[in-house]
Subunit: 321 residues, 2 copies
């Protein structure tokens, strides 16, 4: 079944929320549903709509995969706690790192994360809970990019011919699949989510592993996590669409304390975009760029070089892998 | 023997040229000398001083190692022809690429180039010519960086304990070893070299191979050569100290014609510096940066992403490897 986009101009917020809530209620009826909350605007919106429709019959998990930003699990859980929604943290770090060991190919890394997420972590959780329904924050750009073969979003299954009911034992509900990011932000705001959520820059499904070129190890995640924290602190006030730090595998020559230091390079990207379909690098001032480079090389162990992406999308993509 | 720097303030151009010319004359006497000209300001200056001292008894070669910029051998030779100096092009491309095959470690690549240059190409040339003297454009920054262990310059031998007379059969003369780049430019101008030479941005000894992370193949040299040409065309008017394109080994996701295109990344560096000891990225306008990215991704096959270095030296170095 082809999915029809709802354009921003055609989006009636009240009506959309009412319609989705009713659809979910009438589909799940007295049954149980589960969903995974990452803290991004997409999964947060789905969590709100789902709880509006199902109340306590939606069980929301935060899967701690070890690939999140610093302090993220705790921050997200307390944010939703304040909105009256209970979220359970599931520690699955060992499972993810084990599956990622030795993988360098971006598709293989994505597939490993999808596999662990659905088969090893979510499958068992859904079975335990007795729920037949899984709610997901798939959006229209994800669908488009997966179908076009640009990138396999970890939450696209039906669109590429995977029958989740047969294969994993549950039905997937995607309430915001007809919307792009700008529409989702409006829905999120209308649902009463805080600005921290509805204006939150996008963060990829595979989290920090999508910001690592080459093997994803705990040590390399720690490196990109520290760089990400600095980039988010320094670029928070730019109002850019998205900003990120990428850890490269290539090493470059550097100098520390007057000696050669063959070290790591971090690439910073900061995007102006409305919808993630096209984008341009934000015209950050050189004061900000130099401050980024100085902090990252000083505060992140092993990093001797920082670059800034200057390529538009296309031919670039928003993320590097 | 420690080398003593001649600071810019203490540099008397006329006296320096006179003194070096006399030193070379009295050392070589009626003998023969050879030198290799790369077209950079250092080797060009040495070529001029050498011919001033020795006339035709200095034989100047341009070693075509396959690692030079587009059209460089022909351009350099004709430039010197116009100054009355005959330069012979030696085609050694196959020897260099053969020796570089499979090497990815920066030190190993540098060593391979040094080895081919001295043992396979220059050694035989010197022997054929009967010359006992080899003139080189080593400068004071090269010495410092080699001694500090930051980088092994291919033309530093005595300073790291290699006796060229014993090992290779000739004596090395380094007329500009006490000068830094700014002093050398003044000497070059005083010697009558054209502005294209005396204002020429520095270019590393191992040429484009120093701009390639990973293996140096003819195909990869061709990629970085095309990118270098664009960077030099676009940044020529900035009056920056140095500007360069680096081909990374890491691949990143890109899009071409609406499809995923997992491709190459080029890093651009452009430096403000007086002496190469410290440096800052030039504050290029975003119009220039975007033009660079657009041209490189459009004109260089396989490239989907371009970054700009935003790190100062230190902790960065001018070149990447």
């Amino acid at each position: 079944m082809a999915i029809k986009e709802i354009k921003l101009d055609d989006l009636n917020l009240e009506e959309f929320i009412k319609q989705k809530t009713e659809e979910i209620s009438s589909l799940v009826r007295k049954g149980l549903a589960v969903n995974a909350l990452s803290g991004g605007v997409d999964s947060s919106t789905v969590t709100m709509i789902g709880h509006k429709a199902l109340g306590d019959r939606l069980k929301t998990y935060f899967i701690e995969n070890g690939l999140m930003r610093e302090g993220e699990p705790q921050r997200v859980v307390s944010l939703f706690y304040n909105l009256g929604i209970k979220v359970e943290i599931v520690d699955a770090r060992a499972k993810f790192f084990n599956e990622l060991k030795g993988l360098v190919d971006p598709e293989e890394k994505r597939e490993a994360i999808t596999r662990v997420f659905y088969k090893d972590v979510f499958g068992p959780l859904v079975k335990e809970s007795g729920a037949k329904y899984l709610m997901q924050g798939t959006n229209y750009t994800d669908v488009e990019e997966t179908v076009a073969g640009i990138k396999r979003q970890h939450n696209i299954l039906a669109q590429i011919g995977i029958d989740t009911e047969e294969q994993y034992g549950y039905i997937v509900i995607e309430p915001i699949v007809q919307l792009r990011k700008s529409g989702i932000r409006k829905v999120a705001k209308a649902l009463g989510l805080t600005e921290e959520i509805y204006n939150r820059p996008p963060f990829p499904g595979p989290a920090l592993s999508a910001r690592i070129i080459g093997e994803v190890t705990q040590k390399r995640v720690e490196t990109v996590r520290k760089a990400t924290k600095i980039v988010e602190e320094e670029l928070h006030n730019t109002n850019a669409f998205q900003y990120l730090a990428i850890l490269h595998k290539d090493k470059v020559t550097g100098m520390k304390k007057g000696k050669r230091d063959y070290g790591l390079q971090i690439e910073v990207r900061c995007w102006e975009s409305l919808d993630a379909i096209t984008g341009s690098p934000t015209r950050l001032s050189y004061d900000i760029l130099e401050q980024l480079a100085e902090r990252i090389t000083a505060e992140v162990p092993g990093v001797v070089s920082v670059t800034y992406n200057i390529t538009k999308k296309p031919p670039s993509t928003i993320e590097a892998i």
